[in-house]
């Protein structure tokens, strides 16, 4: 917890006097420039006051809701607009008086974003206005976008990405296409780029990184048209490989888990995808022989599928070359993940042409184990126990997947599990003993 500056000064001034840096009179003069230190429990009081205000607000909302049907329609309408007007008022005040304060800007942007949606939803209910969820989400999302730039607010940006993804999900659920997802997401890119440039390594880029990674993990799958069955395999492989390789350029190599959103999402996404590809069902009935001509598949919208694949695939190749050249030594994880899209595309093409499923299944079984060993090795090389355990966890996840595979003998599965458990225990014990000896 941060020490109050005045309280800090109270503690330091006697030391300065003792060391002869300042005289007693000078120390008194310096101390007299500042008021009394705030009471130690001030922060707690602020929290309790905020909690009290929140409870009162919630109570008022409940009272209003209880008597909702007793109120006339104009009164209900006024109450629907009240939060929006209040949050717009707060935004104006923040713009005028507190623009330099990030917490105030984030709070104003978030409250206004939520109030916009609440107002539209309440008005729809009060006036029994029929509507569809997709239009509501699109309107709400677009109205809240300017707040991201007006207030430089990253929480509002994450809400925007969630709204755009939600719109895409709903649009696809009613058999429309989702190609506008990409222009929608592009609208928030300048904000993300600006934050990364100004605050590299900070909290906000990490927060935005998590928001973007999770939104894209869902949005890519929902927005693609899927006329060509199975094309999602190389598309998702490219997405996670690209995310992981980009992280190598814009994220620190070490640090807290949450500060490396792109690296962690890329790796975890790549592992999960690879595990799925060790099963047979993703490889069945894929390729151009099963092309879907009939509605509800929009032929034109499927251009986005091919464009996405080409752009991401080429980007992966470029980044992989830049990552591994000239110094590729030890970069097994990046190399493997970077080559995953190529493997997925080759596997996809092979299976589409031959209808044979076992070759890519076998390949990805070996791939997952190899990736786990590579992560383990990197952890050992860099002296990071968490990474070593991560590698073991990948191999264990593969084993758990195979546990449910009825084709393997119980004896074999049992032996593998014992070996993995022993490896976990052994590695961690050896590591801890080594650390103790070093210290």
């Amino acid at each position: 917890m941060k020490v109050d500056p005045v309280r800090w000064l109270d503690g330091e001034l006697p030391r300065w006097v003792d060391r002869g840096l300042v005289s007693s009179e000078q120390a008194s003069g310096i101390r007299g420039l500042y008021g009394e230190a705030p009471p130690l429990n001030r922060r707690l009081m602020v929290v309790i006051s905020a909690l009290g205000a929140l409870l009162i607000g919630a109570g008022i909302i409940l009272l209003l809701a209880y008597n909702w049907n007793q109120f006339s329609r104009p009164l209900r309408t006024a109450m629907a607009f009240a939060p929006l007007l209040a949050s717009l008022g707060l935004t104006a005040w923040v713009l005028a008086k507190r623009f330099s304060s990030a917490p105030w800007r984030e709070a104003a942007a978030t409250l206004t974003t939520l109030s916009i949606g609440a107002c539209i939803a309440l008005v729809s209910q009060i006036y029994q206005i029929p509507g569809n969820l997709a239009n509501f989400l699109l309107t709400w999302t677009l109205l809240s976008l300017p707040l991201v730039y007006l207030l430089d607010a990253s929480l509002a940006a994450v809400l925007y990405m969630a709204g755009a993804t939600g719109w895409c999900i709903e649009a696809r659920a009613v058999w429309s296409h989702g190609i506008f997802y990409w222009p929608l997401m592009a609208l928030v890119v300048p904000h993300i780029y600006g934050v990364y440039r100004r605050e590299w390594g900070g909290q906000r880029p990490a927060f935005l990184g998590w928001g973007a990674s999770l939104a894209l993990s869902v949005g890519v799958g929902v927005s693609i048209e899927r006329n060509m069955p199975g094309l999602w395999i190389p598309i998702y492989a490219s997405l996670y490989a690209l995310t992981f390789l980009v992280a190598g350029f814009i994220e620190a190599d070490q640090g807290a888990f949450w500060r490396q959103p792109l690296g962690k999402c890329g790796l975890i996404g790549g592992v999960v995808l690879s595990l799925l590809l060790t099963m047979e069902w993703p490889w069945e009935e894929i390729g151009w022989h099963y092309y879907r001509h009939e509605p509800p598949y929009f032929g034109m919208a499927s251009m986005v599928d091919y464009l996405l694949l080409i752009v991401m695939f080429v980007s992966v190749i470029v980044l992989l070359v830049r990552t591994l050249y000239p110094r590729a030594q030890g970069e097994w994880v990046k190399g493997l993940l970077g080559l995953m899209p190529l493997a997925a595309l080759v596997g996809y093409s092979f299976t589409a042409a031959s209808e044979l499923v076992w070759p890519p299944v076998l390949f990805f079984n070996l791939f997952v184990i190899g990736l786990g060993v590579a992560v383990l090795g990197e952890g050992a090389r860099k002296g990071r126990l968490a990474t070593v355990n991560g590698g073991l966890a990948i191999i264990s996840a593969w084993a758990v997947f195979k546990f449910f595979d009825g084709d393997l003998s119980m004896l074999l599965r049992g032996l593998v599990f014992i070996a993995l458990g022993a490896a976990f225990l052994g590695v961690n014990l050896v590591w801890l003993r080594r650390k103790e000896r070093q210290s």
Binding site: N69, A80, Y127, L143
Partner: protein, 219 residues
């Protein structure tokens, strides 16, 4: 700095304008629109009470669509001409790509499914919003009425199911029959439809609930 305030002004204007425009449009329809009664039928799948609103399904769900090119799976917006039938309830007389030259009409969504030469469509008003504590009471009072009837399944002498076409057709007719005493009034103006009220046995739904709640009356 000035640009900031201009952007704020535009954002505030847009955020307020959209709900205000929704209200103004709806109020205009409610004030000036013609009244039509649409009969409610059993809700299928059976889950009419979803949180804050009651899902509605209507007997008017297919009409002729002369000359309209329809693709089976695309949701198309069409215009349904509304007339009042001899029974006093609304009929969608026909569907067209453009608004009819005269008479009232509503925008409907069609999936292109054809049934006996007519095209199926969905009316735009498919839910009635209720206060959260009212919805369970409404459900308690109306659930049996809104439930689709059980199909008559015949069994032969060996106990095997024998679902005859006649029995299926009878069940279909029962499913699509209007729920007695339950309908909505809708105001229609220039293609827009505003749901005015849900009626049960001649009373607005809230009055019906409060009257049939018992001795403790409305809370």
């Amino acid at each position: 700095m000035k640009r900031r305030w201009i952007i704020f002004g535009l954002v505030a204007l847009a955020a307020l304008a959209i709900p205000i425009w929704m209200i103004v449009t709806q109020e205009r329809v409610l004030a000036q629109g013609s009244v039509y009664k649409f009969q409610v039928r059993p809700v299928d799948p059976y889950d009419p009470f979803r949180g804050r609103y009651m899902a509605l399904d209507f007997t008017e769900d297919k009409a002729p669509a002369p000359g309209v090119p329809l693709d089976r799976f695309y949701r198309q917006e069409l215009f349904g001409k509304v007339v009042t039938g001899e029974d006093g309830f609304a009929d969608i007389e026909s569907l067209s790509v453009k608004p009819p030259a005269e008479g009232d009409y509503v925008k409907v969504r069609s999936w292109g499914y054809r049934d006996e030469g007519k095209v199926r469509f969905d009316l735009p008003f498919d839910r009635y919003y209720l206060r959260e504590d009212m919805a369970p009471k409404a459900e308690e009072l109306l659930s049996e009425r809104l439930r689709p009837p059980e199909p008559e399944i015949n069994k032969d002498d060996e106990g095997k199911l024998d679902v005859s076409p006649e029995a299926l057709e009878r069940w279909n007719e029962q499913r699509n029959a209007p729920v007695p005493g339950v309908y909505v009034t809708v105001r229609v103006l220039d293609g827009r439809a505003a749901l005015e009220e849900l009626w049960v046995d001649g009373q607005p739904i809230l009055e019906y609930i409060s009257e049939h709640e018992g001795d403790d009356g409305e809370e």
